[in-house]
Structures are given as structure tokens and as C-alpha cells.
């Protein structure tokens, strides 16, 4: 597991888990691995994993069930909001960078559309 060394690990673990939920690797309503299993998987301290899970619980993305571990919410709208949030975050960075190259919105849109077309062709 490679971490960015100056950002708290629990935030990075939370981010990875959120991406797994959004990409449906962890399906709606499914049970998450135990804290210990996640800790080993992420090569991280159990307390750190606990902290990530606690915030995910507070954000209603996972629901702890007494003695049974943590379950992904069944509420589609929560996951969809999460997805919007992460996508916006990704676009924020890219948009700001493109703007700093002195590109206007129209150029950015055209450039992005071309990029997507190019990727589609590469894929074929």
C-alpha cells in the first residue's frame, strides 16, 4: 500500500473505501471486511482503520450492526451524492490547472471532448 506521506492515513483509507463503494466493489447493503482484515489489507494500524470507519458511519455511508460488523448503506442517494462529491473534487483540480494555462471554458470543454474521443479510439 502506497500512501501520500503528509496526509493522515485514515483520510486516505476512507477515500479508498469510498471509491470501492462507488465502483460497486463493495455493493450496497453488503458487509465490509472486519477491522483487522482491513488493517492487514491496508497495512495500517487498526485504530487508524477504526477512525476511517467512524467518519464513514457519521457520514451515513456505512451502518454498524452490533456484533456483526459494518454494512454499506442501502440508500442509493447517499452513494450517488458521494460519487458527485468525488467527481467534483477531481474536476476541481483539473479545471483549475487548465484555467491556469489561460484556457477559457469553451476551450476546456472542446479539449475535454476531444480527449474523450481519443480515449475511445485508443480503446477500440
Amino acid at each position: 500500500m502506497e500512501y501520500i506521506d503528509n496526509i493522515p492515513i485514515y483520510l486516505q483509507i476512507k477515500d479508498i473505501l469510498y471509491r470501492k463503494i462507488i465502483s460497486n466493489e463493495y455493493e450496497l447493503g453488503s458487509q465490509l471486511p472486519s477491522v483487522r482484515q482491513l488493517a492487514v489489507q491496508f497495512s495500517a494500524n487498526s485504530n487508524t482503520v477504526q477512525k476511517a470507519l467512524k467518519e464513514m458511519t457519521e457520514e451515513n455511508v456505512i451502518i454498524p450492526q452490533r456484533g456483526k460488523g459494518n454494512y454499506v448503506t442501502e440508500d442509493v442517494s447517499i452513494v450517488s451524492k458521494l460519487k458527485d462529491h468525488i467527481v467534483t473534487e477531481m474536476f476541481d483540480t483539473t479545471y483549475d490547472k487548465l484555467h491556469s494555462l489561460n484556457m477559457n471554458d469553451k476551450e476546456i470543454t472542446t479539449s475535454f471532448n476531444n480527449y474523450v474521443k481519443q480515449r475511445e479510439q485508443d480503446h477500440e
Binding site: 506521506d5 503528509n6 496526509i7
Partner: protein, 244 residues
């Protein structure tokens, strides 16, 4: 519940040379703590003092509220180098095998769990029929970790458990520490692979100039300094050149 480790005004001199001075530390149960500091600053010495192997010059060391040196030995499990195992009475026999060392641990430590050892040994691919003298550095380190973690105690002291071994084995050892650490126990680990162990740590203790320079959570360091642990630790040493 008492703290797992309390150190007050600890002082240690060797041949009249000051090694550690006025060390004060308090650690809670259930933590993994990194012990950082330059070579020769006294990390190993501090661990040996806590384990009751070296005798302190002054001050107090309490493990799980216990102060007697003999009693502390039953609450602390420290990594001893594979060389020290080889130098041990039993290890001097050239034909001695890994399984004989395991039996030796089982005999001398009532808290040694054979079941736990076998699980860890299986995970780390330790061959119990291999001769001690034939072990590579990596295999030796794996054996030392497995033996140390198989004792069921409140405090584990892992002194440079990743030295001289390849990256794949380092990662496996880190995972084995996470897998087999009981929730209540606390681990103090020293390593030069600071970035590699950063995700393992709750807190770090930085030793500098014979003293505890700082005790802080990894998260606080990241939040306050916007640096990784390794960069922060380097800064502490570089920034302090004036008083050396």
C-alpha cells in the same frame, strides 16, 4: 487501568558516559508507537532498559504498573537479534534447528503461545527444520519476529525488525505485526524505514541529544507540519545542528 508504560526521570550512563538523560514517557494500552532517532542516540538502550536487560542509573520504569525488574520481564517481549540466539547456550550447537529454538522459548516463557507461533510461522514461511546457522538475514528476522509476537504480553519492543531484508519480506513482516497484535497490547518499534512503517503507527517518540525530543501522534505531525513523518523527523535533526 494503569498505563502500559510509565517512565520517570530515567537516566542511563555507560562507562561514565551519559547515554540517556531525564527520559519521561507514558504510553497507553493498544498502541503502536515508533521510536525514532539517529544511530547511537540510545533507542536500543532505551528498549533494553524497559525490558529489564540493562540496569538503569536512575529513575523509574513501570510496565503495567509493575516496577520490579524481574516481574517486568514477564510483561515485556523484546526482539533479540538472531546473533544473540546463536550465541545463546543452545544456539552454539551447530546442528540446532529452528524448532529447537521454538522449544527453548516454550520452555522459558510461560506466556509463549505455540498456536500463535505456528500461525505466524506459516504466514511468514518459516521452515522449522532449517538449521539456525543456515538462516539468511531475512529468515532470521522473520523467526525473531514470530518468536517475539508469540509471547502474550502487554508490551512488545521491536528493535529494527526490518533491517537487512528485502521489501517483499518487510511488507509481510508489517502485515504480520498488524494481524497478530492483540487489541490491548502496545508495540514500540524502531526502524530506519520510517515511511514504510508510518501507516502502522499511532504515535512517534523522537529521541535526540540523550532526551525525548517529542511525543506526538502521526496525525498531529501531518496536520501541523504538512510533512510526512520521515521529512519531519529529518527536519528535527537538521534544525537542531546548533546545539550539537
Amino acid at each position: 487501568m494503569s498505563r502500559v508504560l510509565e517512565i520517570n526521570h530515567l537516566k542511563y550512563k555507560k562507562n561514565n558516559k551519559l547515554i540517556l538523560d531525564d527520559i519521561n514517557l507514558e504510553l497507553d494500552h493498544g498502541k503502536i508507537v515508533g521510536l525514532l532517532g539517529a544511530n547511537g542516540v540510545g533507542k536500543t538502550t532505551l528498549m533494553r532498559l524497559i525490558a529489564g536487560v540493562n540496569a538503569k542509573t536512575a529513575g523509574k520504569i513501570k510496565v503495567s504498573g509493575i516496577e520490579s525488574k524481574a516481574a517486568i520481564k514477564s510483561c515485556v517481549s523484546m526482539t533479540y537479534s538472531i546473533e544473540s540466539l546463536k550465541d545463546n547456550q543452545i544456539g552454539k550447537n551447530n546442528r540446532i534447528k529452528v524448532k529447537d529454538i521454538v522449544k527453548f522459548y516454550l520452555d522459558i516463557y510461560p506466556d509463549f503461545s505455540l498456536e500463535k507461533y505456528q500461525e505466524i510461522a506459516k504466514y511468514l514461511d518459516i521452515d522449522s527444520d532449517e538449521k539456525l546457522m543456515d538462516l539468511s538475514t531475512g529468515s532470521g528476522e522473520k523467526l525473531v519476529i514470530a518468536l517475539t509476537l508469540s509471547r502474550q504480553v502487554a508490551l512488545y519492543l521491536l528493535d529494527e525488525p526490518l533491517n537487512g531484508i528485502d521489501i517483499m519480506t518487510r511488507k509481510k513482516i508489517i502485515k504480520s505485526i498488524i494481524q497478530w497484535k492483540s487489541d490491548e497490547s502496545t508495540i514500540i518499534i524502531s526502524s530506519h524505514y520510517v515511511t514504510e512503517i508510518a501507516s502502522l503507527l499511532d504515535d512517534v517518540i523522537i529521541l535526540k541529544d540523550h532526551k525525548v525530543y517529542e511525543v506526538s501522534s502521526v496525525e498531529d505531525i501531518q496536520n501541523k507540519s504538512h510533512l510526512g513523518i520521515e521529512a519531519y523527523y529529518e527536519q528535527v535533526y537538521e534544525g537542531g545542528t546548533n546545539d550539537e
